[in-house]
Amino acid sequence: MQIDEKESTMDRVKVGLAKRYRREKRFRLFGLGAIVASISFLGLLFVTIGANGWSAFQQTEILLDISFDGEQFDVDNLSSANYGALVKNSMRSLFPEVKGRTDKRKLYKLVSTGASYVLRKMVREDTGIIGTTMKIWLPADDEVDMFLKGYIQRDVPESDRRLSDKQVDWIDRLVADNRLEKKLNTTFFTAGDSREPELAGIRGAVVGSLFTLAVTLLLAFPIGVATAVYLEEFAPRNKWTDLIEVNINNLAAVPSIVFGLLGLAVFLNVLGMPRSAPLVGGLVLTLMTLPTIIIASRASLKSVPPSIREAALGVGASKMQAITHHILPLALPGMMTGTIIGMAQALGETAPLLMIGMVAFIVDVSGSVTDPSTVLPVQIYLWADSPERAFVERTSAAIMILLAFLISMNAIAVFLRRKFERRW
């Protein structure tokens, strides 16, 4: 009787067991599926951006024989020389058979308008080259670039193509002469924005982003940490501090464009700060990231074991000494992680910066926090909005740069946490 009972229990357990294991397996598969799905979405994102963007790191250049004719230059006023004519002369000598105004214009269009700036810069740097003839690689027009990269198809009817049959002919001849080549696109990393894709670069936006983030970091980190320390260690617990706490938590959830409107109303209109400046951008992003930093800092202060505080107070440390000698060093990795996450959030922020005019078309690379500037995400937005085909790849390339910044910031956060985290 007893044995029978025991057997039936075992049997029942076994029946149930199979079911339990099935359930567990199902759950595991489900989790695995979720991970695979999210990784493939991420992969898709990176692959598309990479595939679209990598070609932007190359730029077609054209080799021209430029003769710096002495008669063209006035040594006292080098800027007034007609550098465009130098390029045109060179093109004409390459294709002497081209006659007629329209055809000539089409021929000249193969070279970027930026070519004359390159020549002007060369002459300015070394006036000795006047009177000589040099072989120089100059940027080709973005249409030529697109043609060589295969984005403009040869077999499309001429009327539907950005390049005419004659131009395609000339390009073929230039390629055959080894006068057209794809080279590393240094302009992309050294120039500011431009209406001409081949002259547009990311540098202005990167510098703008760095200035903006520097302002944000310098303001948000000390203010955030000081707020967190005061609220956590000194403030009495009463309805006022409760109210402050609730409001800080609420501020973390406020849409960022609201901060942009506030910046526009207060910093620009009331305080009269300069439009489009990284200083104002940094102030607005400070307001936006402060709640994140305060919440993270308070959490990391809370996570310091009370025994450490007691130990410090027990040997006669004052409250401030206990905080600065023991609690802050232990809480700092968490605070830094929170700050870097807040900074990464600020780096990717677009909406509030649109409100304070950082969306303006700015060609110069800004030299200080009060110079007009734009930032990476806004630059991406601007380029994505541009009609030229060549801006498509530049948009993706700019996204790659932004992602590289974000990934390295997160890597720094992980590194700092690993390095300074202490266990007890």
Partner: protein
């Protein structure tokens, strides 16, 4: 309100009753154990006391945690405080160096005197007080720093050492007094958190004595240690007694019997009985004390 006035009455009685009356107290019977029978029995007052506590009441918000405790702590004696969990012995201990100040809702009334100085006086600064009355906690809590820095921290912040050599000497003598020097002298730069539990606790004792306190408070210092480490710490307490006054809270009655000269028994916020350790353990005068030490509850 009624209970308040009742406790105040008891306070008066215990204060006036002092030594002579307490001697003749009869052991109370089970049925009579109640609020009115919690008057302290035994000899809670002594001549030439280092610390004097009179009518100490502690409140956590609305919770009245300690009722009218009056007791003296003698020079170079080890006073053990025993009692069941939640009886207020740790709370009372933490009043002696104002560690309870860190708890917002905590309120202390009554007088606690350290050598004629009322430590709860408004003019008293807790920083020098805590240098005079050191503390060792239940769980070993070394700073996550080197062994050297752990011991040197107190002297450093109080400016007790004027040179590096002097500081080295303080660290060495403190570690020697704590019986830890032999074990760690070759690795002072290693983190204190890497030591074993017993070593960590002795490190904490070294840290406490490095600031040359007059009184050392120990809050269940051995509860997280194994028997061997416990024995080491107990021997250490016996040695430290020559120089320091020690108040130790313990839930281990054997430990109280081994290390202390006087024992105080707390019960639900009341100080029930105080006396020489031998007397309290062999001949308790109060029914509650007897029940506790014979293991009927606790």
């Amino acid at each position: 309100m009624e209970s308040m006035s009742a406790t105040l009455d008891i306070g008066d009685v215990s204060f006036l009753g002092a030594n002579s009356m307490a001697q003749e107290k009869i052991v109370l019977t089970d049925e009579k154990v109640g609020r009115e029978n919690r008057t302290t029995v035994g000899n809670q007052f002594i001549d030439d006391a280092r610390m004097t506590c009179r009518d100490v009441n502690v409140y956590y918000g609305d919770n009245h945690a300690i009722h009218d405790v009056s007791i003296d702590v003698g020079r170079n004696e080890v006073l053990a405080m025993i009692g069941p969990s939640g009886c207020g012995k740790s709370t009372f201990l933490r009043c002696l160096n104002r560690m309870n100040d860190t708890v917002d809702s905590c309120r202390v009334s009554g007088d606690i005197l350290l050598d004629e100085l009322n430590i709860y006086d408004k003019s008293v600064d807790v920083v020098p007080l805590r240098a005079q009355v050191g503390m060792v906690f239940q769980k070993p809590n070394p700073f996550p720093k080197s062994i050297y820095d752990n011991v040197a921290y107190g002297p450093k912040i109080h400016g007790l050492a004027s040179s590096r050599a002097e500081l080295d000497a303080v660290v060495e003598s403190s570690l020697k007094k704590a019986g830890l020097w032999e074990e760690v002298s070759d690795r002072l730069d290693q983190p204190g958190t890497g030591l074993s539990g017993g070593q960590q606790q002795r490190l904490c004792i070294a840290r406490a004595i490095a600031v040359r306190p007059e009184v050392i408070l120990m809050d269940e210092p051995c509860s997280a240690l194994d028997p061997i480490a416990t024995a080491t710490v107990e021997n250490l307490i016996a040695e430290l007694q020559e120089q320091y006054t020690i108040v130790i809270v313990t839930h281990n009655m054997q430990q109280a019997a081994r290390v202390s000269q006087r024992t105080a028994y707390f019960h639900l916020g009341d100080l029930i009985e105080v006396g020489s350790t031998d007397r309290v353990f062999t001949n308790p005068r109060h029914k509650l004390t007897e029940d506790y030490i014979t293991g009927r509850f606790g």
